[in-house]
């Protein structure tokens, strides 16, 4: 087998396919260099020009390594490592001189496939990589078989992949799982896009432009009303004039819920977001995994969530939250930065001066939003240093963070303890999968005020200005021409159905393939009837399964080869050929018996008569009409008697 042009094109295609998805996150120069190398190699193959000199390749190689070191300040780690691997693979194409190099490239492409899963583990990625693997296998088959045309080549590759599937299944199900993310690099294991623990004007509206999934929820029995679906995330206390932050709780006491009612049970599958907080409906009372209940009802897991996790939770929809709040906490909930927003303070003071109660004051503040031409928009005008003043008195256009921020400011200025709560509101029901999808675009900010005897009460100022946001979601609340991500826009029922189908599939994939961790494995194997699930048993079963499958495939292959051997005449003839091969006269596979006898006779004249007789006999038995038992036996004896 020579390095023919089709083979080289196949190898170029392999490298192209495995590295193309990386173009998304590689530095631009690296993508450009890689593409240029591939194009150059294609041109060289097409034109038949010689490969570049070694010194030139050496310069390019060192240049690339240097550039990587400069770009990433290291040669190790995920980004730098992947870039290095891809550039070196492309460079390897440039010195493709022997078959050995081609083999190396095939293996290298298989290895680069894995790196794609560092960045995305979605179904499309997996399918694309399966296709890539098929192309790589077809190239490999090409390398092994030489002249086979494309179609039979692809067929063999597909058969090989199909045979690998049961093996992969056995390995997948039984390979003992370890806790935690596989690659042990929590910092960059996942792209981060999600709620943060600070809030400033624009932070929520920016998040709303992402249709990435934050988490999915399945309710165990009854489903709350949509306006009750407040998924609680970080609670923000401290305000510096622009930005709200969590600050430090003045107490470590677990908060108390009293007079609870209408509990709901549900299961959350949370996408990794690299932060510690978990999301639960207002107000959570029980959680299936170990987590801290912060004094402000925030749930914090022990470790940052850097892998997809599942937990069950119970929330109470009616409650009285912490009516005995610690005084220090209440003082925090009244603190305002000095010197900002004088107009707002004045307004709050005016309302207070009317001598109305807290309830009335809250109503006044909300009515202020709903009656004074405030509008709800994704693109509010920028605000100055007195952001709350600017918003309340000048621009009057804002997103949920503006309303929450100014409302809390008003409350605090009026002497009512208040805080900002961020999280997600609503969700999209997938009736195929029977679960709710919460996207980043569902991110929301609302407020809580503390009232004597009633504890923390949820007030959502956005509901006052745009009830549609709460009742039907962001899409309904914004004008039609607002630029929204594709998935959030209004769609035809067909598209919606397709999307739900796909998301239901994604959910299954997340639950069963990506989320197949040690607990799932344990549960699954127990259900399968494995009695003592330990890693030793799993390893044993795994080895046994692999051995069994390999055995089955071997038998199937052997059975295909056996009928050829079954012919007694043929067997005896092959025995004769082996005897002659031992003395350096092997029969070529395409050589006929008579031709072979003649050739042997030339090399070993003393064998002429014997070989002629044997070959004549063989031809008569195998290709002639006569096939008597005793003739076959005689031929076998003759072969046995044949000595060299």
């Amino acid at each position: 087998m020579k390095l023919t042009a089709p083979l080289v094109y196949g190898l170029i295609a392999c490298i192209l396919l495995v590295s193309a998805p990386h173009a998304d996150h590689l530095p631009l120069w690296a993508s450009a260099v890689g593409a240029a190398l591939l194009a150059w190699r294609t041109y060289l193959t097409a034109s038949g020009n010689p490969l570049p000199a070694r010194w030139l390749l050496l310069i390019i190689t060192f240049g690339s390594v240097l550039a990587i070191a400069i770009s990433f300040h290291t040669l190790f780690g995920r980004e730098a490592g992947v870039t290095l691997l891809i550039l070196l693979a492309a460079l390897k194409l440039m010195e493709l001189r022997a078959l050995r190099d081609a083999t190396v490239l095939v293996y290298l492409s298989c290895f680069i496939i894995i790196t794609n899963f560092f960045y995305s583990q979605s179904i499309p990625t997996a399918l694309f990589m399966l296709f890539t693997l098929l192309v790589i296998m077809a190239t490999w088959v090409h390398l092994q078989t030489g002249t086979l045309a494309l179609k039979p080549r692809l067929r063999i590759a597909a058969i090989l992949l199909l045979q690998a599937i049961p093996l992969a299944l056995v390995l997948f199900v039984l390979f003992p799982r370890v806790q935690g993310p596989l690659w042990g690099m929590p910092q960059d294991a996942y792209a981060t896009s999600g709620l943060s623990d600070t809030m400033s004007p624009g932070s929520m509206s920016k998040l709303s432009l992402s249709d990435a999934v934050a988490f999915r929820v399945t309710f165990n029995d009854q489903v709350p009303r949509r306006d009750q679906l407040y998924w609680r995330g970080p609670v923000l206390w401290d305000f510096d004039g622009t930005t709200w932050t969590r600050g430090r709780n003045a107490t470590v006491q677990r908060p108390t819920l009293s007079d609870t009612g209408s509990p709901v049970d549900y299961t959350v599958t949370l996408e990794p977001h690299n932060k510690r907080w978990l999301f639960a409906l207002d107000m959570p009372s029980k959680l299936s995994i170990a987590a801290d209940f912060a004094p402000d009802f925030q749930l914090l897991s022990k470790e940052p969530v850097n892998a997809r996790i599942r937990y069950n939770a119970t929330s109470q929809l009616s409650y009285r939250a912490n009516p005995l709040e610690a005084p220090l906490q209440l003082r925090r909930a009244l603190t305002l930065p000095r010197g900002f927003n004088p107009q707002t303070r004045q307004l709050a003071a005016e309302w207070r001066a009317r001598g109305i109660g807290d309830d009335e004051l809250i109503r006044t503040a909300l009515a202020n939003f709903s009656q004074n031409n405030f509008s709800y928009t994704l693109e509010p005008p920028p605000l100055g240093i007195n952001s709350v003043d600017d918003f309340l008195f000048t621009t009057r256009q804002g997103f949920c963070e503006h309303y929450a921020s100014s409302f809390v400011f008003l409350m605090r200025a009026a002497g009512i303890p208040a805080r900002v709560v961020t999280g997600y509101q609503g969700g999209e029901y997938n009736d195929l999968g029977g679960y709710y999808i919460l996207r980043q675009s569902d991110a929301h900010a609302w407020t809580e005020v503390w009232l004597q005897d009633r504890g923390w009460v949820r007030i959502d100022p956005t509901a006052a200005i745009s009830p549609a946001r709460i009742q039907s979601g962001l899409r309904a609340a914004l004008p039609n021409d607002t630029a929204l991500p594709f998935l959030i826009r209004t769609q035809s029922p067909l598209l919606l159905k397709l999307r739900f189908n796909f998301d239901a599939l994604t959910n299954q994939w997340n639950q069963w393939v990506l989320g197949y961790n040690s607990e799932r494995q344990f549960a699954f194997l127990t259900r399968l009837g494995m009695e003592d699930v330990s890693w030793q048993n799993m390893a044993l079963d795994m080895l046994a399964g692999v051995a069994l499958l390999t055995g089955i495939f071997t038998l199937l292959l052997l059975r295909r080869m056996l009928p050829k051997q079954a012919d007694a005449v043929q067997t005896a003839w092959l025995k004769l050929c082996r005897k002659l091969a031992k003395v350096g006269l092997p029969r070529a596979p395409h050589e006929g018996a008579m031709d072979y006898a003649k050739r042997v006779a030339i090399a070993r004249p003393e064998l002429q008569q014997a070989m002629h007789d044997l070959a004549t006999c063989y031809v008569a038995l195998r290709y002639g009409r006569a096939n008597e038992k005793q003739d076959v036996a005689a031929f076998k004896d003759a072969v046995r008697a044949f000595k060299l």
């Binding site: 395409h590 018996a593 031809v619 290709y623």
Partner: protein, 305 residues
């Protein structure tokens, strides 16, 4: 060895020196009821071979020299009005003979070529609504110049497929050439040739060819060859089922010529270059593909099962 056939071969070899293999292939073609295409340069003995075979086998012989201004009627014949009887009378063309030498067939226009090739295929001639059978046995040896010469209309693949075999004669080796130069005038030799076989005998032999035994093991081999030609990336097209039938028919005739009653793989290998060379095209250079070389590669690539 069947006796009269041996005599035919021996006598032909006296005229055509140093080409025993080509003579046997030509005879194989005749016995397998196929037609033969000889492609070679002018003057290597194509016409002589045809002539000698016809003479030795005792067949009527007609030579048709193809030219670019030839019309189908020049081959098939025409009906001419008879003044005395007042009727049209069909004047048979040169194709009404047992052995035809169609010389330089690729110099004629496609229209004329297809008239000949249709007659070959159908074993009959239809002219002015009347169908006239051609004599039996009917054997055409067509010769053509290498297609890259000036003034040729190359035969399309579909028409090439009508020929059972395509062979090349090539230059004689030194010894044969010496004999040729030193010997007597070839035309005199041909004139002296005597028929070695009755026509009925020849037809009986053609019948015998069909009875030559083909074992399942051999069919495996033929199928392996066909499959490889179709799966391999080296050929533009694989061998057709008709090519497979031709291959088997030719191998049967070759075995009979060898005096055997069963086909063995060597027979297949012997006729494969003749049968397959005009049906295979290399992927790499469609313009100048050496069919013989491709066929030999095909033989070497397929193991005998």
């Amino acid at each position: 060895m069947t006796h009269p056939l041996q005599a035919v071969i021996t006598q032909t070899e006296q005229v055509i020196l140093g080409k025993p293999r080509q003579i046997r292939l030509a005879l194989t073609c005749l016995l397998a009821r196929g037609h033969l295409l000889i492609e070679d340069l002018p003057g290597v003995g194509k016409t002589m071979l045809a002539h000698a075979l016809a003479k030795t086998l005792g067949l009527q012989f007609q030579r048709i020299q193809f030219t670019s201004d030839m019309l189908p009627a020049d081959i098939l014949g025409v009906s001419i009005y008879q003044r005395d009887s007042g009727e049209f009378k069909f004047h048979a063309g040169p194709i009404f003979a047992q052995m035809i030498l169609a010389d330089e067939v690729n110099r004629a226009t496609p229209k004329t070529q297809s008239a000949l090739l249709e007659a070959m295929e159908e074993q009959q001639v239809t002219s002015e609504g009347e169908t006239r059978p051609l004599p039996v046995p009917f054997f055409v040896i067509a010769t053509q110049n290498p297609t890259n010469q000036i003034g040729t209309f190359p035969l399309p693949e579909s028409q090439l497929d009508r020929f059972l075999m395509r062979i090349q004669l090539g230059y004689p080796d030194a010894q044969a050439e010496r004999g040729l130069l030193a010997g007597v005038e070839r035309r005199d030799l041909i004139a002296k040739l005597t028929p070695q076989m009755e026509t009925a005998e020849l037809m009986a032999l053609q019948q015998q060819v069909r009875q030559v035994f083909v074992s399942p093991a051999l069919l495996d081999y033929v199928q392996a060859i066909l499959r490889h030609s179709r799966e391999s990336a080296r050929y533009v097209h694989g061998l057709s089922p008709r090519a497979g039938l031709s291959l088997l028919a030719a191998a049967r005739a070759w075995a009979l010529l060898d005096g055997r009653t069963a086909v063995m793989p060597e027979d297949i290998q012997a006729v494969l270059p003749g049968v397959a060379s005009h049906r295979l095209q290399s992927v790499q250079d469609v313009q100048i593909s050496d069919g013989d070389k491709l066929a030999r590669e095909l033989i070497e690539a397929v193991a005998i099962p």
